[in-house]
């Protein structure tokens, strides 16, 4: 019974993550396509799309992607070929493994509980909309989460056998090689862990010292490379380089200075301004709307009409939090959980788009743990009650959980692919196939940049030889909205001028060309029937 239940929950989790992996979300977004093609490029040439040999960060669109996900994808591209499934495979695979790691981690955090309680956690984790969302897309954050979970698990094992601390350090490092946000969260988290368990670490100072050296050795390339990789990304998303956040305060500060009120001028100090901005961003991650109703503003981060957690989980989340805090003495490791919960959103709060479901992904499992604890608390209270009440309550809870689960699946599989198709850059694949079938007849192909980064889809779906592309991408700096290689030109159209060109194939969004223009040979539609792109021959 016990084993059967566990295995079926695990299988459920795998099915939820792998079922029709290449089909829903309805298309690859540009980051996924870039990861896929760079893995393909590495596989065949050992170099990325720009010809850098085994880079530690991938230049891609200038966002310098962390390397680990790409390298892991090399394996799946090798096995399954370059397609949507192989690009997303690693995420689904590590997402499924995370369930297992999470299960053992919870057993370590709360030892000697009844078996069904662990199964309940596994079930809630397996059906978590937040975790499923990012296990079904090639987002590096999910890979980082897997290594982060493993690292904490090994860390807890390390209290019995200190050599596991090396495995923990390795996993933490791998997590930092997977995604940007752990690069800030993990060092902070480690500081807190050292502080919380300082007596253990000072007692085992020899091991501690060698683990620290080991960790620093592993992460040294990140620290030394931070100038071009994380900081490039950080620079584009952080609150700190925003002039607008400081302009008005500086004006007010000048008024104080003019009036000779220097203490007053301190109130508009930029440290105060930044501190407020960070705190605001941090608190955004605890918004009810974000967690339970609508998710964040990016439609790729959640199913239509859904938040990141199930709405019924809210009271149990609160209950679990309070209960665990109240009984923190009983479970020696629960402080790890609280530190994790509070630190995980920090790197996300330094950025502009808060709250952010991807950058704060590391704290998904903590929510599931608190919810499980809250639910168990109520269930075990109810088990002591009269039969009628017990069965009645149990029926209601089961119904609510499954109704919400059904709603989520319905929204995710039926409505989201239709409503959010454009957010997934739907239409590029169809367009590339159409262009490929026509292009022989034309000297030139001009493709609009309106949906951003079209070139990567040509590389991906036409499987353009990486060796050839590495020589022909152009070199030097790349304009944000213009690229070209071979007979392809990627830029926004200026129809008044472009319409004079001859023997050219155009790909345009509807707003770029007149409705009644002649020579439309194909139209690419979104799933809801709206026009995504038109292909025009001249």
């Amino acid at each position: 019974m016990k084993k059967f239940l566990l295995i079926s929950i695990f299988v459920l989790g795998i099915v939820l993550r792998f079922w029709q992996l290449g089909v829903n979300p309805p298309s690859l977004d540009w980051d996924e396509a870039a990861i896929g093609y760079n893995a393909y490029s590495i596989l065949h040439t050992g170099r990325d799309e720009y010809g850098s040999f085994l880079p530690l960060s991938f230049r891609s669109f200038g966002d310098y992607k962390p390397p680990l996900y790409v390298y892991l994808t090399v394996l799946s591209v090798k096995v399954f070929g370059l397609n949507e499934f192989s690009t997303r495979f690693i995420s689904a695979f590590l997402g499924s493994l995370s369930l297992g790691v999470g299960y053992f981690l919870v057993k370590k955090l709360f030892p000697e509980e009844l078996w069904w309680k662990y199964s309940l956690f596994l079930f809630l984790f397996a059906i978590s909309p937040w975790h499923i969302q990012f296990s079904r897309v090639a987002f590096e954050a999910n890979c980082a989460l897997f290594f982060f979970l493993s690292a904490i698990y090994f860390f807890l094992l390390g209290f019995q056998k200190p050599r596991f601390l090396f495995a923990s350090a390795l996993s933490f490092a791998l997590s930092m090689y997977s995604y940007h946000s752990p690069r800030l969260v993990i060092p902070l988290f480690l500081f807190i862990l050292f502080f919380l368990f300082r007596s253990f670490f000072t007692r085992n100072w020899k091991v501690t010292f060698s683990v620290v050296v080991f960790f620093l050795f592993l992460t040294f390339p990140i620290v030394s490379g931070i100038a071009n990789s994380t900081s490039a990304r950080f620079g584009s998303v952080t609150i700190f380089n925003e002039n607008e956040i400081l302009t008005a305060p500086v004006q007010q500060q000048n008024i104080d200075k003019r009036n000779g009120n220097l203490f007053g001028a301190l109130m508009y100090n930029r440290r105060v301004i930044y501190a407020k901005a960070i705190l605001g961003g941090y608190l955004d991650h605890f918004n009810f709307d974000f967690l339970f109703l609508n998710g964040d503003e990016a439609f790729r981060h959640h199913a239509a009409g859904m938040g990141l957690l199930y709405i019924w989980e809210f009271p149990f989340l609160l209950l679990g939090l309070i209960f665990l805090f109240n009984h923190r003495k009983k479970y020696p490791f629960v402080k790890v959980l609280f530190a994790w919960f509070l630190i995980a959103p920090i790197s996300s709060s330094l950025t502009k788009a808060t709250p952010h479901a991807v950058r704060s992904l590391l704290y998904v499992p903590t929510h599931e743990i608190f919810i499980t604890v809250g639910l168990i608390l109520i269930l075990s209270k109810v088990f002591l009650e009269k039969k009628l009440l017990r069965y009645g309550f149990f029926t209601i809870v089961t119904f609510v959980i499954f109704a919400n689960f059904y709603y989520y699946l319905h929204m995710y599989w039926i409505h989201t692919p239709i409503e959010y198709a454009r957010e997934w850059q739907y239409g590029y694949k169809q367009m590339v196939e159409l262009v490929a079938s026509e292009e022989k007849k034309y000297d030139k192909v001009v493709i609009t940049y309106r949906y951003d980064q079209p070139y990567i889809y040509f590389l991906f779906y036409e499987k353009i030889n990486p060796l050839w592309y590495q020589k022909n991408w152009g070199g030097g700096e790349i304009d944000r909205f213009a690229r070209h290689f071979g007979k392809y030109e990627f830029r926004n159209l200026d129809w008044a001028v472009d319409s004079q060109m001859r023997n050219t194939l155009f790909v345009a969004v509807p707003s770029e060309i007149p409705v009644d223009v002649s020579g439309i040979i194909h139209t690419v539609y979104l799933p809801d029937g709206k026009v995504a792109m038109r292909i025009v021959a001249r």
Binding site: D256, M267, L279, Y282, L283, F288, G305, I322, H415
Partner: protein, 532 residues
């Protein structure tokens, strides 16, 4: 004795923070304040409202927005005593805010030691939320006072039976003072009755008398509440008039090919319910409470949250302590905190500091419990150090708030307070005898109320000299008082000596600029010109 002195000091501090330079920050009266003030003046001098209605009880028409009567009657006392000016208009709110500090002490005293009660009163005294809203003529702030008084009297009712009646009267007053409290008060009363049902049943006779009294007091407002006009204002701000959930619902049902399950789960009521929940929860956003405050320029200084930053810590601790240790006050505070945002959640702009101000002083009480608990954990020397640190942090935060509130806020946001009307109106009245006609632009909205207010025009004169129409939405449009036209239309057909007030740079041809009204930041508000 010591407690009493401390309490007096705290209440005095509260009063000073709310009353000091009351006409300087906020820098001027905004429309609703001017309207409340003039109607109060009109009641005090003629027992009629600005439209000539004798002692309205259900509502005041005012601009056609149907203001509840509570604040106007309260202000009619202060206006009657001190004349019509900024101070007397805002005085009821100042006193309500100060009174809430005292009531906070008394309320907390029911459950906790005087130590906790004093800290809670102190937190209430220096609360940016309360100070800010107590310094403007905000009906909601007066209603919050009545609300707190109602809850307090209910709780002491078990000792002094008559205070049940008093409690009912206060709740009814809050009902007559602010729209949101028409929903808050009944839910709070029902909730309290439920929480104390066992004790209440022992006092059944008092309960029945109280309910009869309450019902009787509501009679004057019933016909208004069910009328079409009361719904106009509601629909204007309601989320239920937003069509997006309806369209989404239809779209999703269509995708599901109209099957029954789609019709259930994509029902528009579900989507509107979720929308309601979102707006409800918005009022508890961390950014709103701790870093940014209300986005409405009139309702917060924009540079800090509705609470102080350290309240984040104190509230977490206090909440934990109350939930785990003090069930009784915990259930009352929970009822209170969860009830107040309900009406606000029906409106589009959330979070909204004004519509939920009746939530005060719950946050301050919880924070006080948190702080006192932290101090109880500290022993000896550490306690002293802790107290010093806490005082430094509190003073710093208070300085932050008051510095910005008194020095920067009125200058930077004077536009949001319709600054310039007073100066313009006074100029016009000083020169009016030289002209046959005055034309004033209505681009900044409702100029007539400022002429009525600062001209102290008697109600009967106003009624006989004004030219008033109502538009389709029921709003009053006063286009003329005597020779002052509240529009620039018809200017070209006029002859004779004319004074014109226009937006900056918009004086009509043939008029020479003789004065300019600027706001506190130095930007032009009005150009004044004539054709002499």
């Amino acid at each position: 004795m010591k407690t009493k002195i401390l309490l007096i000091c705290i209440v005095l501090t509260a009063f000073i923070l709310r009353f000091f330079d009351i006409s300087g920050s906020p820098p001027s009266l905004y429309w609703d304040e001017a309207s409340l003030g003039y109607n109060a003046y009109s009641i005090a001098t003629s027992l009629k409202d600005e439209h000539g209605e004798f002692l309205p009880l259900a509502r005041f028409s005012a601009f056609g927005d149907y203001k509840p009567p509570g604040y106007i009657y309260a202000a009619s006392l202060s206006v009657g005593l001190f004349g019509l000016n900024e101070i007397s208009v805002r005085l009821p709110s100042v006193l309500a805010g100060t009174g809430m500090v005292l009531l906070t002490y008394l309320f907390v005293r029911i459950f906790f030691s005087s130590q906790v009660a004093l800290v809670a009163a102190l937190f209430m005294a220096v609360s940016p939320w309360s100070v800010h809203l107590s310094r403007g003529a905000f009906e909601a702030n007066l209603a919050a006072f009545f609300n707190l008084a109602g809850v307090y009297c209910f709780l002491i009712g078990f000792r002094k039976k008559m205070s049940f009646l008093l409690s009912m009267i206060f709740f009814v007053l809050s009902f007559y003072t602010f729209n949101a409290n028409r929903i808050i008060a009944p839910i709070l009363i029902l909730g309290l009755l439920f929480l104390y049902s066992r004790k209440i049943l022992q006092n059944l006779s008092v309960l029945i008398i109280t309910c009869i009294l309450g019902a009787a007091l509501l009679i004057p407002s019933i016909s208004f509440l069910f009328s079409r006009e009361s719904k106009v204002r509601f629909q204007e701000v309601s989320i239920l008039t937003n069509l997006v959930p309806l369209e989404t619902s239809n779209m999703r049902i269509a995708v599901d090919e109209n099957n029954w399950i789609g019709k259930i789960i994509h029902n528009r009521r579900v989507l509107y319910g979720l929308e309601f929940l979102k707006h409800y929860a918005d009022n508890f956003q961390g950014r709103f409470l701790f870093t940014k405050g209300d986005a409405n320029l009139r309702l917060s200084i924009q540079d800090m949250g509705q609470l102080y930053p350290w309240d984040l810590l104190l509230l977490s601790v206090g909440l934990y302590i109350i939930v785990t240790k003090y069930r009784q006050i915990g259930s009352i505070l929970a009822l209170w905190i969860l009830t107040v945002p309900i009406p606000a959640a029906f409106a589009k702009e959330t979070p909204h500091a004004l519509r939920i101000v009746s939530i005060l002083p719950t946050f301050q009480i919880i924070a006080a419990v948190g702080l006192v608990f932290i101090f109880r954990k500290l022993k000896g020397k550490r306690k002293v150090i802790g107290m010093i640190i806490a005082s430094v942090i509190l003073s710093f935060q208070l300085f932050y708030f008051t510095h910005i509130f008194f020095n920067h806020y009125p200058v930077r946001y004077s536009g949001a307070w319709q600054y310039g009307y007073k100066e313009m109106v006074n100029f016009v009245f000083n020169h009016i005898n030289q002209y046959d006609n005055v034309f004033v632009t209505d681009k900044l909205g409702r100029p007539y109320i400022y002429f009525a207010f600062y001209g102290k025009i008697p109600t009967d004169t106003l009624l006989s000299e004004e030219d008033a129409q109502r538009d389709n939405f029921g709003f009053w449009n006063i286009s003329k008082i005597g020779k002052i036209h509240m529009t620039l239309n018809g200017l070209s057909e006029t002859s004779g000596k004319t004074l014109v007030v226009s937006e900056p740079g918009h004086l009509p041809e043939g008029y020479k600029k003789i004065n300019q009204i600027i706001n506190l930041e130095g930007n032009g508000i009005f150009d004044i010109g004539n054709n002499l």
